[in-house]
């Protein structure tokens, strides 16, 4: 019988800027089909972990496997939503154009997106409730709308695993609900979703898997088993009282 490969397997991952470690000996196994939050204080290396997995940052040591193979061979299985603030939203382009960029990976070099890609982009915009804004210049979108456009761009990547860097940052309650519903739909479709998350209150409600990170990995596992005061205290260094039983 073929053994089920984990969606993401990280071994001994260490990242450092100069001498200062940002991530230290991270071992992490993420099973397929979970919706996982990465939580930890500022500077804990949450974004760095995602970027190291995606090959944006070169680790000092360690290895990353996506379904058992190196990331380079599995790119097409992976979708990415960067932090909204990482790009210049005054760039001269429209919402649908940004979403189309999600198809570029599968197209490869030189080939241009055609009718099929255009259709996919419009469908993705519809899924995030942004179809009527398709020709809007991106600087004229609100923060929440920009975040939805980024999400739509990842959806057209049609990936098996998604990495999202703080998708809830600076969005209003309506957008937050819209986004989490899409994430839950992705999970229902068997996809694995990894989210850098800041709001501890919503972890039990939104996610079924969680990783506590503070340079080292503190714990990882199902939310119902490990999302407790003990791990929160270990991660944040103070007795973090969260209303888990809310």
């Amino acid at each position: 019988m073929k053994e089920q490969q984990p969606a993401i397997q990280v071994d001994d991952l260490t990242v450092a800027y100069n001498y200062k470690p940002v991530l230290w000996d991270i071992d992490l196994t993420v099973p397929e089909g979970v919706l996982m939050a990465i939580v930890g204080p500022n500077g804990a290396g949450k974004s760095t972990l995602i970027k190291a997995i995606l090959g944006i940052i070169d680790p000092i040591a360690g290895s990353v496997a996506i379904y058992g193979k190196p990331y380079k061979e599995q790119r097409k299985l992976v979708g990415y939503v960067p932090q909204k603030g990482s790009v210049d939203w005054d760039f001269p382009t429209t919402a649908v154009d940004v979403v189309l960029m999600g198809t570029y990976g599968k197209l490869g070099w030189i080939k241009r997106p055609g009718k099929k890609e255009k259709k996919e982009a419009l469908e993705a915009l519809e899924k995030v409730g942004m179809l009527s804004f398709k020709n809007r210049q991106i600087s004229q979108l609100s923060g929440g709308q920009q975040q939805r456009v980024f999400l739509a761009r990842a959806l057209v990547q049609d990936a098996a695993i998604y990495f999202m860097d703080e998708p809830f940052q600076g969005v209003d309650a309506t957008t937050e609900i819209a986004i989490i519903n899409i994430l839950k739909e992705l999970r229902k479709a068997g996809k694995t979703v990894v989210v850098v998350h800041h709001d501890l209150q919503t972890v039990p409600e939104y996610f079924d898997w969680v990783t506590f990170l503070n340079v080292k990995k503190i714990a990882t596992g199902p939310v119902k088993d490990i999302f407790n005061d003990d791990n929160l205290t270990k991660t944040y260094g103070i007795n973090y009282k969260v209303a888990i039983n809310k």
Binding site: R75, P82, S86, M101, R112
Partner: protein, 374 residues
């Protein structure tokens, strides 16, 4: 020569035609590639590169002893690329910020270039005269082979631009995302930078080291004001650049003692000024007009709403009230009543006013009308 004579002569006179064509093509390629520099927020990179090219020109002359412009441009290209490479190295390997690295390379290379130029000028060799034209440029020295080279380089960069359009666009917008998709971002980056350096080097003879960055930035900055599409921006920048070249050449040819490079740059600056003030979407003028109109309109409507809040306490909404009670309302001016009456929202009888049915309904639904619609 008057400007009119210039345009009569430009098609027949060989020298004039060569120079005009040269400055037009140069303006086009600079506008096109300058758009990338502006969008990457590397506006100052062009300035650093052009200054960094100067020692290359001097060294090429010292090595070969000729003033063949193509040979000197190869020297400029090499030293421009070395400068660019060092800037990137400094940024990625030290804690220096981009502006510091750019400023350092700019002044060190330029200083070294000036040193070499002075050294060359002291040489007992009559051949060296004219190397200083690379400082401020001298379009009059353009010959057919120079223009041919410009056309070829422009054609190649246009071809590369169209071929890698998608890759350029996504890298400009979101480099990290591009990397996760599996594109070699370093390659795309180097490709863009290489062509920017090439455009700068091509322009040195015409516009000169000191003003070259304006050629790169001005058309692009002006074009950005008129459009929200990348393709249109690049096209417009190329047109603005070419136009600046032609008009600048025409003006400088029609007057004595006006060197072409600075005039071209000034014409491009006029484009920038005009665009920043008059472009309909982003221009200062229309933005200010829209802002004032909206504000005045809202003031008027809020006054109406205030009148509504008074009028609705009466059974009869058209019951007259005295004007005096409006005096302390913020936004109320003498013109207000006249404007409200003109819109048929109120009627005025001497020192009294009363709401019309239309005014009443407008005030009642004001918030719903005013709500920003997505």
């Amino acid at each position: 020569m008057t400007i009119q004579e210039y345009f009569e002569l430009v098609f027949t006179d060989y020298t004039l035609r060569t120079i005009t064509l040269g400055t037009a093509v140069l303006g086009a390629i600079c506008g096109m590639l300058g758009s990338f520099a502006v969008l990457r927020k590397q506006s100052l990179l062009g300035d650093a590169i052009s200054h960094a090219a100067l020692p290359g020109i001097a060294i090429a002359f010292l090595l070969t002893g000729t003033k063949d412009s193509n040979l000197l441009l190869i020297g400029a290209l090499v030293s421009g690329l070395v400068g660019t490479y060092w800037i990137r190295g400094m940024i990625s390997k030290t804690h220096l910020k981009t502006d510091t690295a750019l400023g350092l390379i700019l002044s060190i290379f330029f200083g070294f270039g000036m040193l070499l130029l002075t050294f060359i000028q002291k040489q007992p060799n009559a051949n060296q005269a004219g190397l200083d034209k690379y400082l401020f440029g001298q379009a009059a020295t353009l010959v057919e082979s120079d223009v041919r080279l410009m056309v070829i380089v422009t054609a190649i960069s246009l071809f590369i631009l169209l071929l890698f359009w998608k890759e350029f666009k996504i890298l400009l917008f979101d480099a990290e995302f591009t990397q996760t998709l599996g594109f070699n971002t370093k390659f795309i980056d180097i490709l863009i930078t290489f062509f920017i350096v090439l455009a700068i080097v091509l322009g040195l003879q015409t516009v000169g080291v000191v003003l070259m960055s304006a050629m790169l930035l001005a058309p692009a900055a002006a074009a950005r004001q008129w459009t929200n599409s990348l393709a249109m921006m690049i096209l417009l920048a190329a047109i603005f650049g070419a136009f600046s070249g032609v008009v600048g050449t025409a003006i400088s040819a029609s007057q004595d003692n006006l060197s072409t490079g600075p005039v071209i740059v000034l014409v491009a600056a006029v484009f920038v000024f005009f665009s920043f003030v008059f472009s309909p979407g982003r221009g200062l003028l229309f933005r200010e007009i829209r802002f004032r109109q909206n504000r005045r309109d809202l003031e008027l409507k809020k006054t109406l709403q205030f009148m509504y809040s008074i009028a609705k306490n009466h059974k009869d909404i058209s019951h007259p009230h005295t004007v005096r009670i409006l005096n302390d309302f913020r936004g109320f001016t003498r013109g207000t009543l006249r404007k409200l009456e003109k819109k048929n929202w109120i009627e005025i009888h001497g020192q009294n006013w009363s709401l019309t049915t239309k005014g009443y309904e407008t005030a009642e639904n004001l918030y719903n009308q005013q709500k920003p619609h997505d």
